[in-house]
């Protein structure tokens, strides 16, 4: 398994745990009295769907999809690491800012998180698309 895949799968597992911790925290009796916890539902969903599921898919696809070429079987490793950095930076920023989204001061952080996430998706697609070759079609 490539190093990038190991990092993505382990980080995805970390986000899964973090998402479930948040899920428990939202249900505590104390949660109703903490405005930040009451506003955290979208963050909870995105930790699970982006941090866990999507990142797991990214990591496994990088490992197992058909080869790009004999010299570069997985396409650009650099792009892969950029995707890893961008998607996790976007989530960290979101986790820190979204519970306080009623405050105008955190809105630039949310906008930056959105941009980082979009960049991660764009780079993942750029690196993966050429590897989706029907049988018999060379790269």
């Amino acid at each position: 398994m490539p190093t990038l895949t190991r990092w993505m799968v382990k980080t995805a597992l970390g986000w899964l745990v973090a998402g479930l911790v948040l899920g428990v925290a939202m249900q505590l009796p104390l949660a109703a009295r903490v405005p930040a916890l009451a506003a955290v539902w979208p963050t909870y969903i995105h930790l699970l769907v982006v941090g866990w599921l999507t990142q797991l898919v990214f990591g496994v696809a990088f490992w197992l999809f058909p080869r790009y070429s004999a010299e570069r079987p997985r396409g650009s490793e650099r792009l892969g690491w950029a995707v890893y950095a961008l998607v996790n930076a976007a989530l960290l920023l979101r986790l820190g800012a979204e519970p306080f989204r009623a405050w105008a001061v955190v809105r630039p952080a949310l906008a930056l998180s959105a941009l980082l996430h979009l960049a991660a998706v764009g780079l993942f697609i750029a690196n993966t698309w050429p590897r989706l070759k029907p049988r018999g079609q060379s790269g």
Binding site: S113, H117, G122, W129, L132, P134
Partner: protein, 136 residues
């Protein structure tokens, strides 16, 4: 990779791109008009991206038959591919726009039929080691 899987995975990446674009718009401008497209964002990310990616990969990678077509008949798979994408669009747009009623119901029905067809095709390929199996 079979042609059907390549097309399903490419369509999943397109859904990921469009769904992420809508999501980023909502995150960056929570009070903006893009918020009305939340149902389309959810449909594209869950059905268009996640479900389609999993089913496309399953069609490629599940154990193959030793006799007949190695992955079973592709025809129903292509129909399911069309229904799944049409369904995700119909359900997402129907939930987002105050258009003619019944779009969401029609979309969800198309998604159900697509997943049922792909699951029926995958079912006999989920088998223990050494069991030959035959394409239907």
């Amino acid at each position: 990779m079979p042609r059907l899987s390549a097309w399903m995975l490419r369509a999943a990446l397109v859904a990921l791109a469009v769904g992420s674009l809508l999501g980023a718009g909502m995150l960056a401008a929570p009070g903006g008009g893009v918020v009305r497209w939340r149902p389309l964002h959810a449909e594209l990310m869950l059905v268009g991206w996640m479900v389609q990616f999993a089913l496309g990969t399953a069609f490629w990678i599940l154990p193959r038959f030793r006799q007949g077509a190695e992955r079973g008949r592709e025809g129903p798979g292509w129909l399911a591919f069309a229904l799944l994408n049409l369904g995700a669009l119909l359900a997402g747009v129907g939930g987002s726009v105050a258009g003619p009623g019944g779009w969401t119901l029609a979309g969800r029905t198309a998604e159900l039929l697509a997943v049922a067809a792909l699951a029926a095709q995958a079912w006999p390929r989920v088998k223990p080691f050494g069991q030959a199996g035959r394409a239907a």
